[in-house]
Symmetry: C2
Subunit: 258 residues, 2 copies
């Protein structure tokens, strides 16, 4: 990259980060060769970086020789504000909703054009859902996503409406229809979906509003997923609203998270 | 550190890791100066490394100028086996116990001479507890810790019994008494504590046994925390045992985690 020590330093740090970046939810365990390939690192360099990252505890090596994320990175991840200032604080409220309904409850924040799921409570009798903590799903196809999209800046709405992906045959991808739906969500205060992200499930979601100096902001969305044959979706909105207000008040007492 | 490029590389990676290692649960937000001091890095080097780590998303910079763990490290942490192969799998069983009891339920694994808490479900009506996900507490003073200690290798037991710290005036620190208690836990199959970690709470815990090629191993401990005035502690053991067996069977179907 460069001859100077600053240049070499930048290059080494970025290579170490590229090695970490080789891991993702679809590939949480990787061989040396896979890591070298995915990170664009020469094999010998990758081998040396892996030794350092493993010694520190950022990665660990399994009995089968593959590498995986180590406990020390898990520890550090627990310090991220999305965990420390949102997930921990909101978890008891999600539990309240789950206790009252037995359905899968989750909390998401907007990250660009996606809903990032930061907490989920799901019993063994709850309907199976695709989202897990850390998942990103399209804003236009999920309940929490629609709520976050309805509160998003115009340019985000324009970006999503320009090319909404189809997840199932029921996903609403017509920009005019979506636009009307967002207006309805803003007016009514909650969103619903029916088999738009996965067949067999429906969802209801409400915004988590937090009072800030400049007025209320939608900081997150709280949603519930139920079997699509359930006829009582509208009954779930007030349950979610009570919990969302509790989360909003708790958040208002903290610094803004990101 | 060294003149050669390999030496410089090692040094740079270890410095970047030292910057990350400056953050911990008691100091999740740090200024540039604090990071430089805590990591033993010259200010200008720390500044440059922070810029790189922030650009990649490992850290992020708050409005007040302090740094904190970024969402990308949170993402990576979610891929750690303790999360992916234990926490996610066990969570529905913890929820079952919480639903049946309304008390705080948690799951811990042994990490050296400490119990590492990997999952916790706690309602707003549950008794306040000191442990959070990611907490480490002494093995001899907690319910889950005693269960893990009872199953630990002799050298770990000897290490803990050599210098058991006192957390409250009720903590059992007499080695002979502790040793007898561990034998009783092995015989009876569950542990109990009364105000040994924090005043006002009692706990019950059971081992999570997994069938492995070499025979059953205690992979984790499942515990419940209740107000210390409760008289029905013994009643809670079978509830935990049912859930622990469910977790054990689910774990047996996966690769061993670490």
């Amino acid at each position: 990259m460069a001859g100077g020590s600053a240049g070499a330093g930048r290059s080494v740090t970025s290579r170490a980060l590229a090695v970490l970046g080789a891991f993702d939810a679809s590939s949480p365990r990787l061989t040396l060769t896979e890591i070298a390939e995915r990170s664009g690192t020469p094999l010998t360099t990758a081998h040396r970086l892996l030794a350092e990252l493993t010694a520190w505890g950022a990665l660990s090596r399994r009995a089968d020789g593959r590498y995986e994320i180590g406990r020390r990175l898990w520890d550090l991840g627990l310090l991220a504000p999305v965990q420390l200032e949102l997930r921990q604080l909101a978890a008891p409220f999600l539990l309240d909703v789950h206790t009252a309904t037995r359905d899968t409850v989750h909390l998401a924040v907007r990250e660009g054009a996606h809903a990032l799921y930061v907490e989920r409570i799901s019993g063994r009798e709850s309907v199976p859902v695709v989202s897990q903590v850390g998942s990103r799903l399209p804003l236009h196809a999920t309940g929490v996503g629609k709520v976050l999209l309805a509160a998003a800046p115009d340019e985000v709405v324009a970006q999503v409406l320009a090319a909404p992906e189809r997840a199932t045959r029921h996903t609403v991808v017509d920009p005019a229809l979506l636009s009307r739906e967002l207006a309805e969500i803003r007016r009514r205060g909650w969103a619903r979906t029916a088999e738009e992200m996965s067949l067999g499930t429906a969802s209801v979601a409400v915004p988590v509003r937090v009072e800030r100096a400049g007025g209320p902001v939608v900081a997150a969305a709280l949603g519930i997923v139920v079997p699509s044959h359930r006829r009582d979706l509208a009954r779930l909105a007030p349950v979610l609203e009570v919990a969302a207000r509790g989360i909003g008040r708790a958040l208002a007492r903290t610094e803004p998270f990101r």
